[in-house]
Assembly symmetry: C2
Homo-oligomer: 434 residues x 2
């Protein structure tokens, strides 16, 4: 890789998500050379992906060019790259665009969808971790309804209008709410020749409550809200397979559907080359100490979803969410500067600011460390926090304008099939057949 040698030590950061970007920002002009690698040239504001998937926001409103973030930083390099492996012996990152020596390495690769080894589900269901994936979901939803207008086969049409969301965490809950709002306000007008009442929105949760990382009160409210929106909630149901047409579960329950959105689990996006002892199997997260140092290495760090910092309070590491990632990124910047100056580093302590989820129009649930609330006020809090967290004034302004417009007009104008989603080779749902 074409990075000039500097008199400063070189920190290589892999990943421009919440952890990587907050780290990069704090390393601005700190007498270090920083090389930031990412496979996209933009930072994604993941909490709003579901609104891109359901046409409420354009992709550009929740993406921010990474080069714009770092463009005025000294001795700072961004490279668009897929990292293949770490060579810890020679202190090198091996990527598709070449090798790069590091003095300090920070792995901030985040997480990816966990299919728990099921290849069928991986092939036939939709994930919603990236902007292209969200746009694929948007295209598929709209393509389904377009196809439903074409068929006289009732079972086929029902399957096209049936949506199964697996996973009752914030992603599944928010997506189900947004789909339900589409069903109520938009689809009946757009498809007057379809009976939209027949559209099914099924939210399938393995455990006994939705949002099971939040308070029981939030779960209860979320279920009530979704129920009132017409979402079918299936608790204690474990999905066992999906062949592109039928979802099978641990019991006799099955769903006939053209669309499964898999939000049932994530795992760390670990990379190769780190010693096996440092990796938590299945979770694919790297064990880190209180300074985010990866087990067994002095100059390799991991932050965010891919890092698991085990403590008494968090025996499985911190939740895989934006907040721990941002806080770890911020502290690690300080600690790297300290370490370079041979000063002692500061131990990380997670400041849990709470969590929240929105469920359609006017409704949200918010858990703060000492209180819970839900309803309209929670919804305003949710909007304010998300708006405020977006990078860039223009994105904030455009998102706010879209929200106000969508709210007043009961509308989402992003129902555009810009890139058709090419379904895998499933006979019964190919357009050609109809």
């Amino acid at each position: 890789m074409n990075i000039p040698r500097s008199s400063f030590p070189r920190i290589v950061i892999i990943g421009g998500g919440f952890a990587g970007i907050s780290l990069a920002k704090k390393l601005k002009n700190k007498n270090v050379q920083v090389v930031l690698l990412d496979k996209h040239n933009y930072h994604t504001f993941q909490p709003l992906l579901y609104q891109v998937a359901t046409g409420g926001l354009e992709a550009g409103s929740i993406a921010y060019p990474i080069r714009k973030v770092v463009q005025e930083y000294q001795d700072f390099y961004f490279r668009l790259a897929n990292v293949k492996e770490i060579d810890t012996v020679h202190q090198k990152v091996l990527a598709d665009i070449g090798d790069l020596h590091y003095d300090y390495l920070v792995i901030a690769t985040g997480s990816k969808t966990n299919y728990f080894g099921n290849k069928d589900i991986e092939n036939y269901s939709m994930a919603m971790k990236t902007i292209p994936q969200s746009l694929n979901i948007r295209s598929l939803i709209l393509e389904n309804f377009e196809q439903a207008t074409l068929t006289n086969d009732i079972a086929e049409r029902d399957a096209l209008m049936n949506f199964v969301i697996v996973g009752g965490g914030p992603t599944g809950v928010e997506l189900a709410g947004a789909l339900a709002e589409m069903k109520k306000a938009i689809l009946p007008k757009d498809y007057p020749d379809l009976d939209i009442r027949k559209m099914g929105i099924h939210l399938v949760q393995g455990s006994d409550r939705l949002l099971d990382a939040m308070s029981p009160k939030s779960s209860e409210s979320a279920e009530k809200f979704l129920h009132s929106l017409g979402v079918s909630i299936w608790k204690n149901v474990r999905v066992t397979n999906y062949d592109g047409r039928t979802v099978t579960t641990g019991s006799d329950l099955t769903f006939e559907t053209a669309t499964v959105i898999w939000a049932a689990g994530v795992k760390g996006a670990a990379i190769n080359g780190i010693q096996a002892e440092a990796l938590i199997p299945r979770a694919d997260r790297f064990k880190v100490n209180e300074y985010n140092q990866v087990l067994g290495y002095d100059n390799i760090f991991a932050v965010g979803d891919v890092a698991s910092m085990i403590s008494e309070k968090y025996p499985y590491g911190h939740p895989m969410m934006a907040q721990p990632a941002i806080q770890q990124g911020n502290l690690l910047a300080e600690n790297l500067v300290k370490k370079i100056k041979n000063k002692p580093m500061k131990a990380f302590e997670y400041n849990d600011k709470g969590s929240m989820a929105t469920i359609g129009r006017n409704k949200a649930v918010v858990d703060l460390p000492k209180m819970h609330f839900h309803g309209v006020f929670a919804w305003f809090v949710w909007m304010f926090v998300h708006l405020f967290s977006l990078i860039g004034f223009k994105n904030k302004a455009v998102v706010l304008m879209n929200w106000v417009y969508n709210y007043i007009k009961f509308d989402r104008e992003g129902r555009l099939i810009i890139r058709p989603y090419k379904k895998k080779n499933i006979q019964s749902f190919t357009t050609d057949e109809i």
Copy 2:
């Protein structure tokens, strides 16, 4: 196709561009059944495609869901379809989604890029007629600069930073201006390790002036504006080939470049099944009479770019632009209603409202029927007319906000590679090789 029979005569419109949409709007609740077919589910505001290509606007801001336009019209159907052929004997449209009987057929398929039979140019150059194509150009521009940071081969880097736009009409001129603004204000900040002064923007025109459909004064001003922005203008140059690396011309002049944008010609997007006598060869436009009836047919009409209505004033038909398309669409709605009632139709007369082009920041040229002006005022007129012409309040508001933001901040935040553009198999520019 699954369209119920109605007691009203059925009008089938192929294409939801300027002509098709204005026709559809005027046919609202007119005691006819209307079926509108398009291969996209949105209407594209083509005059602003170049701003999507250069990251100034998001795709969603210049696209509008067709179903939203027609959602409250009675006995009105939209279908996402690729039309393959017309069976004029049985009065049927043959499409990928099935056949459809028509009582009246309106061909509003617009135009497509004309490569004048050159397959190499078609394969290796970029067109800018649709939103996906514009997004491809955006991705390619950014990918080129990302790749330029990776190579030490100077010829390679120069070719990656060299842009050749073929065709000096409004599309080429506006795109060249927008690229020049990127070169000035954005790229030097985003790519501090590249010498952006080396970026070349070449605008190649076959005739002896740019904007040769406009007034000589406008040509002159446009050339002056582009010149001051650092665009290299090549007049009287005919491009003969592009092999993915080298552009050859009618003379010794060649360009080494990774990117050719082909804006040198359009032709009608004619469809099969219409008798040969009605088609103008090479131009691929259908000959229509003053009522937009296709030569030799009583109930088949063509409007917009695909129609050529020859008159004394317009011996080659009307210019292939939005205005004639909109005006023809509007009048044809009236005429179809008249025809159904056996009343005489009204002859079309083109009301030339003038034409305009913008060239970067603060500059535009405007030709009105009786006057010409250019500069800042022309630029305001350009913006006002384009804003006003966009469908939908939200698109207008979002575009305005983006323009104000981009203007004040000298910025375009849409520099996002959402879908990487996969280059054709050109050895020297594949990422893997570097």
